[in-house]
C-alpha cells in the first residue's frame, strides 16, 4: 500500500490551481486539476482521487452540484470546499452536501497543507473502517460454515465410531472399559454441544434463543454452572462459593445458555486464580435487576486489555501461560445481551477480577403471567 495519495483540485481560477499544485508538490501526492465541475467529475472515475478540493463558485456546474455528484460516485472520497465568500451559510450547506471541511480564500500555504493532511487522514480512516467492517462481516458470515464443517465433521465421525464400537463390543467389555467408552462419548458430546452453542450465539439469529425463553431460577443456574466447573476447580484446589439473596426474582431466559455464560465466567475465574484461593459467586437483586457477580483473587486483567476483553478472539497481551480461544467472554457477552442484560468488569492486576452480569428481573405477577403458567405446566418441546 505504498500508493501515493491522489488529490484533485477543481477551480475555475488558474492561479488557484497553480498555487495549490505548487504548495502541495513537496508532499508526495499525485495531483490533478480541472477548470470546471464537469471536467473534474469526468476525471474522477479514471484518476480515483482520495481528496478533492472544489471551488464553490464556478461557471457551469456549481460546487454544490459537484459535491453531490462526487458523493453519488463514491461517498468515501473526502471533499473539501474552497470559496471566496466564506460565510457560515455556505460552509453549513456544503457540509450538508457531504463536504469534510471548508477552506476560505485567501489561504496561506500552511493552511492548505494542514487541511490536506487532515483530509487525507480522514480518507485513511474511512478506508480502514470499511476494510475492517468488511473483514468482520466475512468472519461472522464464514464462521458458522467453517465451524460446522471443519470442527464438527471430525467430531461427528469420532462419535459415530464410538457408537459403533459400543454396538460391536457390547457384552465383551468389562464395566470399567464400558465406563471409559461412555466417558469418551460424553466428552465428545460436550464438545459438540459447545460448538452448537457457539454457532447459535455467533450466527446472526440470536433471536432464536428467545423462542425458548422461560423463567429461570438464578440460584439453580449457578448451581449447575458450579457443578460443571467443580472438577476443574478441585484439580486446582480453588474453592467455589455461591450465595444468593432471598427472595430473588427469576430471570426470563434460556437456562442452557445462561448456565453456559456462568460456566464461562466461573471457569475463567478458576483458570486465572492462584492455587488454594477462592472464587465467589453471588446473586442479588437491585431495583429491577438481578446481579450475578463472579469474583476471583487471581492475576487480574491489565488496564490496556480491559476495553477489549468482550470482543471476539481477543486474548490479553499480558496473559502469561493460560491460553484460550478468545471466544469465551465474547460468547458470554452475547448470551447476556440476548437476555436484555449487560456485563461489567472490574479488575486490578495482581488483585483479581470481578465480572458482573446484570439481567432484568422477571416479575410474573405484573406482566407475562402466561409465560409463568407455561413454565409451571412444563413446556412442551
Amino acid at each position: 500500500m505504498e500508493d501515493r495519495y491522489k488529490i484533485l483540485i477543481i477551480d475555475d481560477e488558474e492561479v488557484v490551481l497553480d498555487a495549490c499544485t505548487q504548495i502541495l508538490e513537496g508532499g508526495h501526492y499525485e495531483m490533478a486539476t480541472a477548470m470546471d465541475g464537469a471536467h473534474g467529475l469526468g476525471l474522477i472515475p479514471e484518476f480515483r482521487p482520495d481528496l478533492v478540493f472544489v471551488d464553490l463558485k464556478m461557471p457551469g456546474l456549481s460546487g454544490f452540484e459537484v459535491l453531490e455528484k462526487i458523493r453519488d460516485v463514491d461517498p468515501t472520497i473526502v471533499a473539501i470546499v474552497i470559496t471566496g465568500y466564506a460565510t457560515v451559510n455556505s460552509a453549513v450547506d456544503s457540509m450538508k452536501k457531504g463536504a469534510f471541511d471548508f477552506l476560505p480564500k485567501p489561504f496561506t500555504p500552511d493552511e492548505l497543507r494542514l487541511i490536506t493532511r487532515r483530509g487525507l487522514e480522514k480518507r485513511r480512516l474511512v478506508l480502514e473502517t470499511i476494510a475492517l467492517r468488511r473483514e468482520k462481516e466475512m468472519l461472522r458470515e464464514h464462521f458458522a460454515a467453517i465451524v460446522s464443517h471443519e470442527l464438527k465433521s471430525p467430531l461427528n465421525a469420532v462419535q459415530q465410531s464410538l457408537f459403533a464400537l459400543g454396538v460391536e463390543l457390547s457384552g465383551q467389555l468389562t464395566a470399567e472399559q464400558r465406563n471409559r467408552l461412555e466417558r469418551c462419548q460424553s466428552r465428545v458430546d460436550d464438545l459438540l454441544q459447545l460448538i452448537h452453542t457457539w454457532l447459535r450465539v455467533i450466527s446472526r439469529d440470536i433471536g432464536k434463543l428467545r423462542e425458548n425463553f422461560r423463567p429461570v431460577s438464578v440460584p439453580a443456574a449457578i448451581a449447575k454452572a458450579i457443578e460443571s466447573v467443580q472438577p476443574h476447580a478441585l484439580r486446582k484446589d480453588v474453592a467455589l462459593q455461591a450465595s444468593a439473596e432471598e427472595p430473588l426474582s427469576p430471570v426470563l431466559g434460556d437456562e442452557g445458555t445462561l448456565v453456559e455464560a456462568l460456566v464461562n465466567l466461573i471457569g475463567n475465574a478458576v483458570k486465572y486464580s492462584r492455587v488454594g484461593s477462592q472464587v465467589l459467586v453471588k446473586a442479588e437483586e437491585r431495583e429491577a435487576s438481578v446481579l450475578i457477580s463472579v469474583a476471583d483473587t487471581g492475576v487480574g486483567i491489565a488496564k490496556e486489555d480491559l476495553p477489549f476483553i468482550f470482543e471476539d478472539f481477543y486474548r490479553g497481551q499480558s496473559g502469561g501461560v493460560e491460553t484460550g480461544s478468545g471466544l469465551g467472554l465474547a460468547l458470554t457477552r452475547r448470551i447476556v445481551e440476548a437476555h436484555q442484560g449487560a456485563m461489567a468488569v472490574e479488575s486490578e492486576p495482581g488483585q483479581g477480577s470481578t465480572f458482573v452480569i446484570r439481567l432484568p428481573a422477571f416479575k410474573p405477577l405484573i406482566l407475562e403471567s402466561d409465560a409463568l403458567a407455561e413454565s409451571q405446566t412444563g413446556g412442551i418441546r
Binding site: 464443517h149 471430525p154 461427528n156 459403533a164 454396538v167
Partner: protein
C-alpha cells in the same frame, strides 16, 4: 421375514460412513457406500436399494439437496425412502433464511442429526422400510383391484 435389506449411504466423510455402516451391518443390513453425489446417483440408477441414507452437506454446499431433488423427478427412485443424516440444523438458517425447520426435501424423507445414536438410527431405518413396504402393498392391492 424376507431377504436382507440393501441400504446405500452417500456421505463424503469415509470415517463417518464407517461408523454408520458398522451399526447397520451389526443389525443385519447390507450396506454400500458412495462418497460423493455423482457416484451415489450412479449407484442408485444401476442397482437396487431399499433405502438411502443421505448426507445433505457435501462438496461445496448442499449437493445432497440437489441429489434429493433429482431423485424426486426420477419415476423409479421417487418412492425410495430417504433418511437424511446431517449436521444441517446449524446451517439451515444460513441456507434457507427464515425456515424454522428443514424443508421436506423429498416426499418420504426423515431427518436425523449427526452423530446419530445406534438405537435411533435403527428405529428410523426400520420405520422407513416398513412404511415403504406398506405403501408398496397398498399400491399393489390397488392395481390388482382395477
Amino acid at each position: 421375514m424376507s431377504a436382507r435389506k440393501r441400504l446405500l449411504i452417500i456421505d463424503d466423510d469415509p470415517d463417518f460412513v464407517e461408523g454408520i455402516q458398522a451399526i447397520l451391518k451389526a443389525a443385519n443390513y447390507e450396506v454400500e457406500a458412495a462418497y460423493n453425489p455423482k457416484e451415489g446417483f450412479q449407484a442408485l440408477q444401476t442397482k437396487h436399494y431399499d433405502l438411502l441414507l443421505l448426507d445433505i452437506m457435501m462438496g461445496r454446499g448442499a449437493e445432497g439437496v440437489m441429489l434429493a431433488r433429482k431423485m424426486r423427478k426420477d419415476p423409479k427412485l421417487r418412492e425410495m425412502p430417504v433418511l437424511i443424516i446431517t449436521g444441517i440444523r446449524e446451517q439451515i438458517a444460513f441456507l434457507f433464511p427464515g425456515e424454522p425447520v428443514h424443508p421436506r426435501f423429498v416426499a418420504v424423507d426423515e431427518l436425523v442429526e449427526k452423530p446419530v445414536e445406534p438405537k435411533l438410527l435403527l428405529e428410523r431405518v426400520s420405520a422407513l422400510l416398513q412404511a415403504a413396504a406398506a405403501r408398496k402393498a397398498r399400491t399393489e392391492a390397488g392395481s390388482t383391484r382395477t
